[in-house]
């Protein structure tokens, strides 16, 4: 489904009818005109704005989740990265992103260059406000960047990370996004990704994976004997808060991806999406806590949190069509993915600090591939092509950028700096500076 919403003609004609009723026959037509165009415009715009601020809030969710899952000595860094990347995404998605993604793609591989024109409100006509649409699409772009930040935590220098973010949000994300939501070649082919399991979550996951491979694991994470040395995060309540924020924001993420709310069926669709989104998350939690209880005799709270998110990512490719039972199943598998992929990555010595790869990349693929189960317009073959094409493009282009950064300004602090913690090295202040400060004059 592309993401440039167009009203269907009949509705528009009907709506028009309301102002021209001159004969009984036309009056019949008018009966279809169940809402004025203005009201529709406002409802659609409002959906973008509400959805937009909910997804914007997810930036805070990622910040808290990551702050909770890194060690104290890197928490200020993680917070700085998260607020900066949201700023960069906003700027870059305006400078090049939006138009690359949505302007004149027309079955092709990218749109046009140049900043998005934000219209004068007096001329911002159509079915919704173009500004509201920009805002809504922008926060999706920012989400992609947030995903990368968590995987690479605790061992990447800030400026190379921010440069990567600028390229990801200004170019990589919008180009692959144009293929589907910009009505590019994948959309023409029939690929289906309702709210971005692949376009947002897997894309972010691929960029993160490329970075993790090139950057390497944190010092000491994998012992010479092959043993994994867990490095527990600093604060489980912050990680929990972050997860709840993300869960909340996801109602905007999936719900507002309906892109319209000005008809009964659109409003009902948004509502059904809320239900399915919640069910998938709930199932993700339940599977994760049950599996960790069975496997490890204890519930792993970080898996429960990741389970919720994986459930959410899984349902994102198609939150509208599944029945509740399907949504529960789709989300539940997401929870299982987390429980099995997290240790698998450790076996492969891929160090993913917050579990973004299982949650966003793997569950994103799962969610995309299962779309045909509930949506008969989608086919497994085309879904696989989309997953592969976007995966290859994002992984490849990200790798080039990471390698270029590594070869030039360098992406990794020295071992001594990493041991000391990035807060002390690159950020003016540690996250909880009181103990280490020592020489307090008072």
């Amino acid at each position: 489904m592309n993401r440039l919403y167009k009203y269907s003609l009949p509705a528009a004609v009907g709506a028009l009818g309301i102002f021209t009723l001159t004969s009984p026959a036309l009056a019949q037509d008018a009966a279809k005109a169940t809402m004025t165009m203005d009201a529709k415009y406002v409802f659609n715009t409002l959906l973008f704005l509400i959805g937009g601020f909910l997804v914007m809030w997810m930036a805070a969710g990622f910040a808290m989740l990551e702050a909770g899952l890194v060690r104290s000595k890197n928490v200020s860094m993680q917070c700085t990265k998260n607020i900066s990347l949201f700023a960069i995404a906003g700027l870059m998605f305006w400078i090049t992103g939006y138009n690359l993604m949505y302007e004149g793609v027309d079955g092709g591989f990218m749109g046009s260059f140049g900043p998005k024109a934000i219209p004068d409100p007096a001329k911002d006509a159509g079915d919704y406000s173009a500004s509201s649409d920009w805002f809504f699409q922008m926060v999706f772009c920012a989400t992609t960047a947030s995903i990368v930040s968590g995987t690479l935590a605790e061992r990447i220098k800030i400026w190379p990370f921010l440069i990567f973010t600028a390229l990801l949000t200004g170019f990589i994300y919008p180009i692959q996004g144009s293929w589907e939501w910009g009505t590019g070649w994948l959309d023409k082919m029939g690929f289906s990704d309702f709210a971005g399991s692949t376009l947002v979550h897997s894309a972010g996951g691929w960029a993160a994976l490329a970075g993790a491979l090139i950057l390497g694991a944190r010092i000491g994470k994998y012992g010479k004997d092959g043993r994994v040395h867990p490095m527990p995060g600093s604060s489980m309540p912050l990680a929990t808060l972050g997860t709840f924020i993300l869960w909340l924001g996801w109602f905007g993420f999936n719900g507002a991806s309906q892109l319209a709310m000005g008809t009964i069926s659109d409003a009902a669709s948004v509502s059904k999406i809320f239900v399915n989104t919640n069910m998938a998350a709930a199932a993700g939690v339940m599977v994760a806590i049950t599996l960790t209880q069975v496997l490890y005799k204890k519930i792993d709270i970080t898996m429960a949190l990741n389970g919720a998110l994986a459930g959410l990512v899984s349902i994102t490719a198609e939150p509208l069509m599944p029945s509740v039972v399907q949504a529960i199943f789709i989300g539940g598998i997401g929870g299982a993915i987390v429980v099995f992929v997290v240790p698998l990555l450790d076996k492969l010595k891929i160090d993913d600090v917050v579990g973004a790869i299982p949650v966003h990349l793997v569950a994103g693929i799962w969610g995309t591939m299962i779309v045909p189960w509930s949506n008969s317009d989608a086919s497994f073959g085309v879904q696989a092509i989309g997953v592969a094409a976007i995966g290859a493009f994002v992984f490849f282009s990200s790798s080039i950028i990471w390698l270029a950064l590594k070869a030039t300004i360098g992406i990794r602090p020295t071992a001594e700096e990493e041991r000391l913690g990035l807060d002390a090295v690159e950020i003016g202040i540690e996250a909880y500076p009181e103990f280490s400060k020592g020489g307090s004059p008072v």
Binding site: V228, H229, P230, P232, T292, Y296, K298, D300, T302, M303, V339, V342, P343, D346, G355
Partner: protein, 112 residues
């Protein structure tokens, strides 16, 4: 004078403090520490990987006393800290050469 260092279970601190107080000892300094001994910690799971929590939370108390009070102090701590379970901790006694009260400059017995 003696410098007594005791490692106890955190939840016995209150009892130990009162026992010392009953024995006429008011001055005491407390630190949160981690300990490893016969009681060895336990294994935890974090994100699918098991790891050893080698250290358990303990409380360290330090008391400087006049030599005459040392035995009384040691037994007060011993009785108040004992739960008869593994990990109850230990009491160490060191010789203390001198003590000074910062506020008054008093030294020796008067300072502890």
């Amino acid at each position: 004078m003696k410098y007594i260092i005791a490692i106890i279970k955190p939840h016995r601190l209150d009892e130990v403090r009162s026992a010392l107080s009953d024995a006429g000892i008011e001055g005491i300094t407390v630190t949160e520490v981690k300990g490893h001994g016969r009681q060895k910690g336990h294994s935890e799971i974090y994100r699918g990987a098991e790891y050893q929590v080698n250290f358990l939370p303990k409380t360290k108390i330090e008391v400087a006393v006049d030599s005459a009070l040392a035995d009384k102090a040691v037994s007060a701590i011993k009785e108040a800290a004992c739960t008869d379970k593994i990990g109850d901790g230990k009491i160490f006694v060191l010789a203390l050469e001198s003590a000074t009260r910062i506020r008054t400059g008093e030294t020796g017995k008067d300072a502890v």
